[in-house]
Symmetry: C2
Subunit: 315 residues, 2 copies
């Protein structure tokens, strides 16, 4: 038996066959430059081809899970909107794909799916309760309690990036102000880094990007701070403060066993997690009687999308 995991991204769509142990048997991908209907047709073709190429039988397919970068309604099987993909508004993706395969098909948000993968097969596989932030262009959130995905009503919740961190703070794409996403996403870190560089022309961060501010990325401040640059260190300190406060909020709501950081910034590993661990233990609610929440970085990387999508069938 195997499941299919589909990982819809902004640039490409990945299709994978996943075995019962969460291992990817085979995968392929195609670009997103198509209409939604054509993309769905393409998903079906890729599934069929992968099954044929690997000498598998479609009768052994448990079902299809899809991780989508946007708002999806798990109850209706409807994509509400994928902001970074043209035409993906109110698309009944489950019904449309069911025209090709009469199997159970489940959809969820991409961040939920990544969290599910990490808890079932990745860094958090020894834990039951986990919260995950995916620190990328935005901030995605995933909530796992008792090894089950908690998506909120109609599977439309878990928008953990859209909680205010700074009341009346910076404007967010969601229409509110001061959302977590505006302070702890990779995009936000890059803005904070650039701002600090413009204020300090002598910072070693300029050397890191060969004098070209357009080359600043999520590593610039961290790598320069490790080499002792004080301005970079200040950027990191502030960023870690924002992230620490955001994590603490989640700990006080969910008291998870483990808090997972995913996305590019998580490559900073223990440089990130050691300091966040200290910060969170210092301020956690409950008069120091709360059990410790382990703060870790994701381990499945880009495979989490396919693996987690396929794991939706097990929910």
């Amino acid at each position: 038996m195997f499941s299919v995991g589909i990982d819809i991204g902004g640039m490409s769509i990945k299709v994978g066959l996943v075995d019962d142990c969460g291992k990817i048997i085979a995968q392929s991908r195609f670009r997103t430059e198509k209409t939604p209907d054509d993309m769905i047709k393409c998903m079906a073709e890729h599934i069929s081809n992968l099954i044929d190429d690997n000498s598998l039988d479609v009768k052994d397919m448990l079902g299809i899970g899809i991780g989508c970068p946007g708002s999806v309604n798990g109850d209706t099987g409807m994509v509400e909107i994928l902001p970074n993909l043209d035409g993906w508004i109110k698309i009944p993706i489950v019904a449309k794909l069911q025209n090709f395969f009469d199997v159970p098909i489940k959809i969820s948000n991409d961040a939920n799916v990544a969290a599910l993968a990490e808890v079932l097969y990745g860094v958090a596989k020894d834990y039951d309760n986990a919260i995950m932030f995916t620190l990328g262009t935005g901030v995605g959130g995933g909530i796992i309690l008792d090894k089950k995905l908690v998506e909120g009503g109609h599977s439309l919740g878990a928008e953990l990036g859209h909680i205010t961190l700074v009341l009346e703070g910076e404007e967010c794409t969601c229409g509110r102000k001061g959302c977590i996403e505006r302070y702890v996403s990779a995009t936000a870190l890059i803005e904070q880094t650039k701002c600090a560089m413009l204020a300090d022309k002598n910072s070693a961060m300029w050397d890191f990007v060969n004098g070209d501010i357009d080359k600043v990325d999520g590593r610039t401040a961290f790598e320069s701070a490790k080499k002792g640059d004080l301005t970079a260190k200040k950027v990191c300190d502030k960023y870690l403060f924002y992230l620490g406060e955001s994590i603490l909020n989640m700990l006080n709501i969910f008291r998870p066993d483990v808090f997972i950081l995913g996305g590019g910034i998580s490559a900073q590993g223990k440089y990130l997690t050691d300091r966040l661990q200290d910060y969170c233990e210092k301020f956690e609610y409950g008069y120091k009687m709360s059990p410790r929440t382990e703060i870790v970085t994701a381990t499945l990387g880009n495979d989490a999308g396919i693996i987690g999508a396929a794991a939706l069938l097990k929910q």
Copy 2:
């Protein structure tokens, strides 16, 4: 068959027998001026007396549920700390009460228990998913998903009052700064009201309290605003903004069917909920595609503690 609900408060402990429909059959109470051991003994005596007085049989008792005003560990049956009651630190309340009655005994935080009561038998009984704020001295939180209480790991989560609303804001008793509790509790509203009155000696709020600022309570600003006092209206507007932002955060995490406001301030009814409903619909995440969350006030009042505690047995 019946269950026992125990509602531990700062001043008194209420014990009630509750039928299968969530109706209180009988209740009694005693004051908290005792050691924890004596209080637990007293709980047992009250249970036995209520059973005898109502000609019931202890064999028909399904179990005992206890709502506690503080941190409790549902896994271990241990009260971690009840900050407003002397001596209640690390008390194995379940084990101790089990010496008197060999029945299932469950404990939870009082705000969780109130939310459970409202969803099973009160204002939210037609809904599956609900979040509740209890606006009192502090802010308690309750999370109900699919009619089940979500307490977080070790039943120590759902501290919804201890999420930052204002980064680096006012100091909170929990050790952090800017928690929701410091802006939307009754205590906070009273502070905000007093502060506005001191800045405007002509405000009608002074008449409402007969010139005695110590008589300010959670109604002062609301009642004066309804009569047209502009300073009171500003206090209410700001308070509703804080509360609206706090609620929006919960909607984006849980997308509940209903959001319940409990505690004294909820007596403001539709004056409170109509404006919060408008505010939340304006800023809710998801490009206006999110299903509406009904904002309502609690209906079970003081009975919620006993009813919800007894309902823990049904979880």
